[in-house]
Symmetry: C2
Subunit: 256 residues, 2 copies
């Protein structure tokens, strides 16, 4: 079995399900920590700040530091800075997105933006959508943190960022560049953050259509763990298959 120098690890369905930790998530992360294996938690969640996610993990006794969190908002900010260091951005989103952009000194503007970025925004207004459309029609590059169409909640499935993004897409006729999983961009930016090559790291997640597809798209080896979305039965329909599968993360610990 190949030994990996670093890990990219999904959160929801892999480390926890809402408020509950996934069995062996804690032991898996502790094994990485004991052996000083660099790892990043890579999430399509654009609304939360790293400190909020760290608190959630620590409350479940899963070790984590802010530097180990890589949200799609942070990936989006990193992508923009890599393209254009003085970019002006019109952003629609919650604190996780606004802070991620501000943290890398991106100037937030209402007009004459170089980029329009949209992430989930539960305070969405017509005026925000209008400004997004006007900036895109004036030539701004259109980015979206992720294409998730729905968010599971106790009320049922509520609109996800992919559905809010469609307002700008349908109205302007411009397609966004999505940064989050299943796009490989977020994987490439996460590897850059760890300072590792794609051959050196393993992508671990529970969802074939997001986690595993992103890893495969980035040319990485992948481990699908059957603790969340994709069951053993569901997995059979997909091609290519992940490099490895495991019923729980406990099975993988001897390979670390």
């Amino acid at each position: 079995m190949k030994s990996y120098k670093g890990y990219l690890i999904d959160l929801d369905g892999t480390m926890y399900l809402g408020p509950e930790p996934i069995p062996y998530a804690k032991e898996f992360i502790e094994a990485l920590k004991e052996q000083d294996i660099p790892h990043l938690f890579v999430t399509n969640n654009s609304s939360k700040r790293p400190d909020q996610i760290v608190n959630h993990l620590l409350n479940m006794n899963i070790p984590a530091t802010e530097k180990q969190i890589f949200t799609t908002s942070m990936a989006t900010a990193s992508y923009i800075v890599g393209q254009h260091s003085k970019a002006k951005v019109y952003a629609i989103g919650e604190v996780g997105l606004i802070d991620a952009l501000s943290d890398v000194n991106i100037e937030l503007v209402d007009e004459k933006a170089d980029y329009v970025v949209i992430g989930i925004d539960r305070d969405i207004t017509y005026e925000k959508l209008a400004k997004g459309c006007l900036n895109i029609r004036s030539g701004a590059t259109f980015l979206s943190t992720n294409g998730d169409i729905a968010i599971p909640t106790e009320r049922g499935f509520l609109p996800g960022n992919g559905s809010l993004t469609s307002v700008l897409e349908v109205s302007t006729g411009e397609k966004p560049l999505y940064i989050g999983k299943p796009e490989p961009i977020i994987m490439e930016l996460a590897l850059q953050e760890l300072g590792l090559k794609k051959e050196e790291a393993l992508m671990v997640g529970d969802n074939y259509k997001t986690d595993i597809m992103a890893g495969i798209g980035a040319g990485m080896d992948t481990l699908l763990v059957h603790t969340g979305i994709t069951s053993e039965k569901d997995l059979k329909q997909f091609n290519p298959q992940p490099t490895y599968t495991a019923k729980t993360l406990n099975e993988w610990i001897p390979n670390i």
Copy 2:
């Protein structure tokens, strides 16, 4: 030249352009009035009430009464009542939609709706979109007043109802039934309102892709007037062609 017993007439680009009347719109309507030819103004505008539209026409000296206004909101209300006389509706929209539904005694609800209806809503919120998604996922029939993707304003093109509708469509995976032009439904409901058969009335408008397509779709004769969207040159690319064309409505007055 065939003589028509009734007329369906578009507003924007046919009667007026924003605050300005279109030349000969007044004379055209006066000719219909003098000869007692029944006519309805048929508009994809879902946000305004009939009295607001009448005031706008009267301010330009174009004769009109509230009974002659047929908005896509009124068409949507009429469609629902025709399908299900005790329907419960969850509605997202402005005063024109809410009043049109209330005027035909439709019960407006937040949950357990038989229909979800969306029209342009410049006070859109995430909670409204969430309730729309939840009702559609629970089995409500999904209607949209119109699919217009953008609204021309002095600021530029702002999001139209078709783009807001896409949030519900993308998030739930359900396609809406659109009521407004270019769908023929609004024509059929307008003919019913006039008490005329499709062979007996003429659809008049400036926009091939909405007005003329709706008329053709409903099996009506159509008159494209080149005072708005579709120029003589643009028209050549379309098939089938409208029954008649005119540079201005003045050309048509002798045929009334």
